[in-house]
Amino acid sequence: MSFRILVLAKQVPDTRNVGKDAMKSDGTVNRGALPAIFNPEDLNALEFALRVKDQREDAEILIITMGPPRAAEIIREGIYRGADSGVLITDRKFAGSDTLATSYALSLAIKKLAPFDLVIAGRQAIDGDTAQVGPQAAEKVGIPQITYAEEFMGFHGDKIQVKRRLEHGVEILESACPVLITVNSSAAPCRMRNAKRLMKYKYAKTEIELQELNEDYLQMFESRPYLKLKQWSVDDLKADVSLLGLSGSPTKVKAIQNVVFTQKESMTMGASDAEINKLMKSLISSHILG
């Protein structure tokens, strides 16, 4: 029996490069308009998993990602860096899911992959900055959680020890497995791609992607089954559709506003002695200083 680690990783729009057409009128993100990247803290999560695997020969790492078909890139990227395989959860019926609906779908995939020992997620995704999906998935699966993980401290018997980074200090927690861990950006950065794995897995594809390929490719897949990436729909997960998508999401976006500058009347001045002297005098006489 292997020690199974599930890593939750999300493909996110790069919010550091946001243009005008990034939001749709219904308040959801127009993912097409932005470059898609591996959510930064999910890379920390993957490294955390790889460090556990470094200590346990029998460990196996599977990436779970939910998103549009192109999110399969996340699984390949994870495999290049050392994960064993992955599952893409994709279905139009998931569109518009908030964190509760997303964690419901992820929890079904996690349970379908049972038995598992660890579930590792990033602390938060840069598109929503909510940090909710990890704890919510843990609750839905019915396992404990350790958030803000910074370092894998090893095993103590069959319990895992994890160092957490809090606002004002650190804590080391110990938990039986299975447990869900969310990893901070302060944890170790993810190792680079491995060139051999890149060569071996660059043709790994999901079903949807296979449809666009020609005969030669399909033959290659027959002989190399490890190139087939799992892809699950709402039906595969036997999900209750009323708990998914916009209808399964308790939170709704009522309004969206762009951030605008409220122009203030301001004074521009130089840095000469006379000007600074005058400024300090006026601040003191108006009791802002002193």
Partner: protein
């Protein structure tokens, strides 16, 4: 239906109610008044005899107190069991948590258990209606949960029309802490802890803990001298400390300055740091990105020192000094002393 407002109150290392929770009680008090409902507090910890007196000046009607040695320091499962059960039992309609490492660990677990919505890091909470044209229905008195989204580039108003309670987390410093006349008949309900938690809630244990009381209190400072990436080095940050000393202020920083190692994270101001509203904010070498402004644009007066007269911060500053930090700060210190004698 009771439909009251609940605040989860965090306990600090030295056994008091955390500031962020008192701030939320202040906000909760106003919301409760507007909705004509009660404000109720959940306090979970150990040795909590003095807690009721601490909460009384914030207008709390009821305190649910879970006092047990096993409940401090905070652990996720026992706290979420208690909070989830109390919320269902007493039919809370709005529940507020601090957006701290405790609140953000606890609230999503509770929201999942109760199958309700949760909005993280709200910067404003208001009461309002919502009309849906398609079905011609109006939802009365919803909680508008207003928060920056998409890396701070937009502000979104989130609502939960159907599934209640409505839950939100709010960062420290966003709401104002304000005392009111204590309620005459404040009730303290002691929780029978064993009815709410089970043995299995203690499967995760703390084996080591090192928490320090926060050393800096930029939130409470009337004058803040904040430095950005433009300060250039940790050494140059020394100039900011000199000016802050002279003015009896505190030193703050932008995220870029924290990332560059010029300053520590606890001094970070902005969307992912603290929110401040001092009498005077002196921004030194800070460009004024939206995420930074989110934490300081309510300052009464803003002075910016920047080599670029058109930096975004110039739009919200009252005084824009065009020059380098190295040149301007020593002059400010010098002329402050000269003029205040």
């Amino acid at each position: 239906m009771k439909k009251n407002i609940f605040v989860y109150c965090e306990i600090t290392e030295d056994g008091h109610i955390a500031d962020v929770s008192l701030e939320l009680c202040s906000k909760g008090y106003k919301l409760a008044k507007e909705l004509k409902v009660k404000l109720e507090a959940i306090v979970i910890g150990a040795n909590l005899n003095h807690i009721a007196a601490e909460l009384a000046p914030f207008g709390v009607d009821t305190i649910y107190l879970a006092d047990d040695n096993r409940l401090f320091p905070y652990l996720n499962l026992p706290h979420s069991s208690i909070v989830s059960k109390l919320i269902s039992e007493y039919e809370a309609d709005i529940v507020l948590f601090g957006a701290t490492s405790i609140g953000r660990d606890l609230a999503p677990r509770v929201a999942s258990a109760l199958r309700c919505g949760l909005t993280a890091d709200c910067t404003s909470l208001e009461i309002g209606d919502h009309y849906i044209k398609k079905t011609d229905t109006t939802y009365k008195n919803l909680l508008y949960q207003i928060r920056p989204a998409f890396g701070g580039n937009i502000v979104a108003t989130i609502i939960n029309p159907d599934m209640h309670p409505q839950m939100a987390t709010v960062r420290e410093g966003v709401m104002k802490k304000e005392t009111v006349r204590p309620k005459k008949n404040m009730a303290v309900v002691a929780i029978e802890v064993d009815k709410y938690v089970s043995e299995t809630d203690f499967v995760v244990s703390i084996i080591h803990r090192q928490i320090e009381a926060p050393k800096v209190n930029i939130k409470g400072a009337q004058i803040i001298v904040a430095g950005g990436y433009g300060v250039g080095s940790k050494e140059n940050f020394g100039l900011l400390y000199q000016l802050a000393d002279a003015l009896s202020g505190e030193v703050g920083a932008s995220r870029a300055a924290v990332d560059a190692g010029f300053s520590s994270h606890e001094r970070q101001i902005g969307q992912t740091g603290v929110t401040v509203r001092p009498k005077l904010y002196i921004a030194c070498g800070i460009s004024g990105a939206v995420q930074h402004r989110a934490g300081m644009d309510q300052s009464a007066q803003i002075i910016s020192i920047n080599t670029d007269p058109n930096a975004p911060i110039s739009h919200i500053a009252d005084y824009n000094i065009v020059g380098t930090v190295e040149e301007v700060l020593p002059k400010m210190i010098k002329y402050f002393y000269q003029n205040s004698k």
